[in-house]
């Protein structure tokens, strides 16, 4: 079966000469549809860069990124953005939410940007799952870290993307909230049939994934 996410000989270097940093060094990755893949590595190993590439946020120096078999970097910037908002949901470590919008607005923002109407049933279902039904009008500034990440998860799910990319989503959370957020994420992804690629430096969290990819100095060490 076709892999939903693939990289072929991906390369991204920063700087030059003595300052050369090989963020991604000839990396090949393959993710099957519906998989939960944990990407593990130390700080500076290039995990974030890899995730950004997978999501089309940054262009590689060479190599390809194939999503559902399509080379995404052949798309023009605008089409790439459209692709991003329909296929991929992003969750970052922090500052996920737009401070001037309330919880509901943050969640439906990608849908709105796509010009589509909100499927209220579906979104409310997600909201209930993350346990924020009573705080739909709250502003992000009033939410705790865990709550903010829940909202971020809801946003990532609301537009029904095929792939969810999470960059250390639990990095700023305490261990209890961490377990909860990851459980939630895993459960939702399974239920809605999505693929999840999550970066984490915590190998405990990585356990919960179907598969673990270890990155060191821009290269895949274990898969």
């Amino acid at each position: 079966m076709k892999a939903i996410l693939e990289t072929k000989d991906l390369v991204k270097y920063y700087g030059s000469g003595d300052n050369l940093v090989k963020a991604i060094d000839h990396t090949d990755i393959r993710v099957e549809p519906g998989e939960f893949v944990a990407v593990v590595g130390r700080s500076g190993s290039g995990k974030s860069t890899l995730l950004h590439m997978l999501g089309g946020l940054d262009r590689p120096d060479s190599g390809k990124v194939l999503v559902e078999g399509r080379d995404i970097f052949r798309l023009m910037d605008d089409r790439l953005a459209v692709f991003r908002r329909r296929k991929i949901g992003f969750i970052f470590q922090s500052y996920n939410l737009v401070p001037s919008l309330n919880v509901w607005e943050n969640i439906v923002l990608p849908i709105g940007l796509d010009g589509r109407k909100v499927d209220r049933e579906y979104v409310m279902d997600i909201v209930r799952k993350i346990g924020m039904s009573d705080r739909l009008h709250a502003l992000p500034g009033t939410l705790s870290g865990g709550q903010q990440q829940r909202v971020a998860i809801a946003r990532a799910l609301a537009s029904r993307p095929a792939i969810i990319l999470a960059d250390e989503p639990t990095g700023n959370l305490d261990s209890r909230t961490e377990i909860e957020v990851v459980s939630l994420l895993k459960h939702c992804v399974t239920e809605y049939g999505q693929t999840l690629v999550m970066i984490t430096h915590d190998e405990t969290i990585a356990q919960m994934a179907d598969r673990m990819i270890v990155i060191e100095d821009g290269k895949v060490v274990r898969s």
């Binding site: 076709k2 549809p33 209890r176 459980s183 049939g193 405990t204 356990q207």
Partner: protein, 380 residues
């Protein structure tokens, strides 16, 4: 069409009609002014020379006309003498009104056209986008279907490999038994030797029994013969069942199982299977923990989940094996583990059961060097 759009269209239409009306009004007024001016001229001329009334009427209505170029030129010169030239002709009279009115009508018309053109372009674009979107969705659906097919095929494969694995695992104790029998048949054994062999055979049979039990469970689950029936029930009773199951073996090794006090929480789970799952974890702990140690169970309520922590004082699990232990048939590489009986299936089952119910399980290093298993179950 939502109200915002409707309002905007109403506004645009209103403006358009207003412009139209104003244009018409100006034009009409200009025409009327022109007529009135002519009338005034008539009156003024006639007042000066009443006897020429008919001539004036003829000139003003256009009946009497000086046709040639020269006449126009003479006229212009005369007018200029009195300071009236082209510029004045423009600004006087009804011309500005007319021009203004016409311009307004034209502008209104152009604006309407532009508006319609823009609107139709937008409609076209929207239609195109919708088409693109539907195409994408179709592709996704196809992928999903493919996945389901693959899933089915995988299950088929799994069942096949399951059978292979089970038969492989069973082979060893059966072979051992067979060998025992053959030796007994073919050789004269002393009473002690016979005793020894008997003991070994008993062990083998126990081992077979053990394996059979585990395999039965697992295959039932794997092949979908048993379905989990989640219901909302208190987690306390389930936990009690699990503890009860492992109690006997714990007492044997003088290991105490302590549960910290907690308020019961209702969780959506299949009590039987969940108890089984937790029981496997406890079994694991009892099996590998040294004599006289303690296994602690802690239950806490999170926002959407209930968290159950099971901590033992055993040897712990090395980091590189921590994510492997939940794999099917995996047995740890450490000496202590190798020594014990085990099918490598218990934790795999635990994970499958919990994840089917929307929960999770993972292992961390305990505070005193042992292992801490963290189980979550959804509250809703």
């Amino acid at each position: 069409m939502d109200t915002g759009k409707r309002k905007r269209i109403a506004l645009a239409a209103g403006l358009f009609f207003l412009a139209l009306l104003v244009g018409l009004f100006l034009t009409g007024r200009a025409v009327w002014q022109e007529y009135e001016n002519t009338a005034r001229q008539m009156a003024a001329l006639t007042r000066q020379a009443p006897e020429e009334e008919a001539v004036f009427a003829g000139i003003l209505t256009g009946k009497i006309v000086e046709d040639n170029e020269a006449a126009a030129k003479t006229g212009m010169e005369l007018l200029e003498k009195y300071g009236y030239d082209l510029k004045d002709s423009f600004w006087g009279g009804a011309l500005p009104g007319m021009a203004g009115g016409m311009a307004l009508l034209l502008a209104a018309g152009l604006a309407a056209c532009a508006g319609l053109a823009w609107h139709s372009m937008r409609l076209k674009r929207e239609a195109r986008e919708r088409a693109d979107y539907l195409e994408e969705k179709l592709k996704e659906e196809t992928v999903r279907n493919q996945k389901m097919e693959a899933e089915l095929r995988r299950e088929e494969q799994e069942t096949k490999s399951l059978i292979t694995d089970i038969s492989h695992q069973l082979k060893t104790p059966v072979a051992s038994l067979k060998m025992s029998y053959e030796i007994e048949d073919s050789t004269e054994l002393s009473a002690e030797e016979t005793e020894e062999f008997r003991r070994k055979e008993r062990e083998d049979v126990e081992r077979l029994e053990h394996l059979l039990q585990a395999f039965t469970q697992m295959s039932k689950l794997e092949t979908g013969m048993i379905r989990l029936k989640p219901e909302k029930a208190g987690v306390k009773s389930t936990l009690a069942r699990a503890v009860a199951g492992a109690y006997a073996k714990a007492v044997d090794k003088n290991i105490s199982i302590e549960t910290e006090e907690f308020t019961d929480v209702a969780v959506v789970h299949d009590p039987g299977w969940t108890a089984e799952a937790i029981g496997n974890v406890l079994d694991n702990g009892v099996k590998y923990a040294p004599v006289g140690t303690c296994i602690t169970i802690r239950v806490s309520e999170l926002v959407s989940y209930v968290m159950i922590e099971v901590e033992d004082e055993g040897p712990g699990i090395p980091a590189e094996e921590q994510h492997r232990i939940f794999q099917r048939f995996y047995r740890g590489k450490a000496e202590a583990v190798r020594k014990e009986e085990g099918s490598g299936v218990g934790l795999y089952l635990t994970r499958r059961i919990l994840e089917e119910q929307g929960g999770t399980v993972c292992v961390k290093n305990g505070r005193t060097g042992g292992s801490k298993f963290v189980i979550t179950l959804p509250k809703e």
